[in-house]
Symmetry: C2
Subunit: 214 residues, 2 copies
DNA sequence: TAGATTGTTAATCGATTAACAATC
DNA sequence: TAGATTGTTAATCGATTAACAATC
């Protein structure tokens, strides 16, 4: 019976959660939509709408309980359960993600790293088990992971996505340059490094147009 | 006299550019809004609107010239000029960005890496000059960089942003957990690692709710 | 109770899509 | 010229903001 959570709201959920954690750490137990709005640079109306949509609850006259809202967000995003991650590709990015120790603290332990190019990086600096690509089919079903990080060449990304889908992976965090086409019941977030730089370059161009350097 | 470029359109610009480059590489010289729409998973009307807003031009009856559109996007995003980058922080992420060789090929050469914590990572695996934080004020003005990558602890990010602004940096690509508040004439893109994982977790939760595993 | 703030409906704003005249 | 597709105005759709009644 839960209401439709719009795309922009989905994108805001982690920020709400982050701010609840910060407030809690600061010992703040209650907060009004007005104060939270100032903090998060959001319109208070939007905050009330958002909380309403996700069926959170406040107390009229007082505001929202930080603890309650935090726990509610946690539950909605499924952060109470651990989500295991596998990493595909052992180049720079793959290694970095695999070795990022803090992921486990946040409930996202990296449980395996698959190496597409065995000769590529011989030295094992990884803190997690490394397997050859050929063992994907036998290993993945037992690892209990639903999230995969794709850090591999553009050409291989789509093919790998399909393969992982068949193995039960339902969410992809990709760093490849490809525009991936996932099945309907698979989530993809693509971090395009170059897109980010290009957007920043665009912004600089705009600013320079508005007020040219003498 | 150029028309207002909406936020969603700004986000789409790099994708248009990417597809133009791909089409060019494939030897395609002309493309209709309908075909491009299929490729990019966009409504053809939107494509025509977008191109119109950025003042690109097609030929009625035929479509758009790939080369022309590519060059036009390049110009709009300022990709014809090189945008030098400095990297702040020498942890895992900082090193990775600094050593990413392909950035230079795309017109974004990393020209310096500043180390906030000199003892932190003694071995210099960096392919670019490394300077101590203390030299920021003397070095940055000469480096001619407008973009800075922030790969440092949450607490230090906002302070560093202000400092870099005073040194002429006008665009920030941050990996910190902080919600940064830039001046009006500074652009910030914040890559929240955990937000991404939380959103993927949320999607998985939603999918499981829709069709629970037996 | 009075004061404050939520919860929710209604109004507005902006982006996407549709439609079709202009034109290559 | 006829056919096709752009360029652009108008319609629709959806998200944000405003307003205010409900209620703690």
């Amino acid at each position: 019976m839960s209401r439709y959570v719009s795309e922009p709201l989905v994108q805001r959920l982690p920020a709400y959660y982050r701010h609840m954690k910060e407030l809690e750490a600061q010992g703040v137990t209650e907060i009004t939509s007005r104060n939270l709005g100032e903090r998060m640079q959001l319109n208070p109306c939007q905050i009330r709408q958002d909380i309403n949509v996700i069926e959170g609850a406040g107390k009229q006259g007082f505001g929202y309980s930080v603890k309650e809202l935090k726990e509610h967000l946690q539950k909605i995003m499924g952060l109470d359960q651990h989500r295991r991650i596998i990493v595909l590709g052992r180049g720079r990015t793959g290694q970095e993600i695999a070795n990022h120790p803090a992921f486990a603290d946040e409930g996202f332990p990296v449980v395996a790293l698959f190496d597409l190019d065995p000769g590529h990086l011989a030295q094992s600096t990884a803190a997690v088990p490394v397997y050859p690509e050929a063992e994907l089919e036998t290993r993945v079903p037992d690892l209990g992971a639903k999230i995969a990080v794709l850090a591999l060449p553009t050409e291989k990304a789509q093919e790998m996505l399909n393969r992982l889908y068949d193995l039960g992976i339902r969410a992809i965090w990709s760093f490849s340059r490809a525009d991936l086409h996932p099945p309907r019941d698979m989530a993809v977030v693509n971090w395009h490094l170059y897109d980010t730089l290009q957007i920043l370059s665009y912004r600089i161009s705009q600013m320079e147009e508005e007020s040219p350097r003498r």
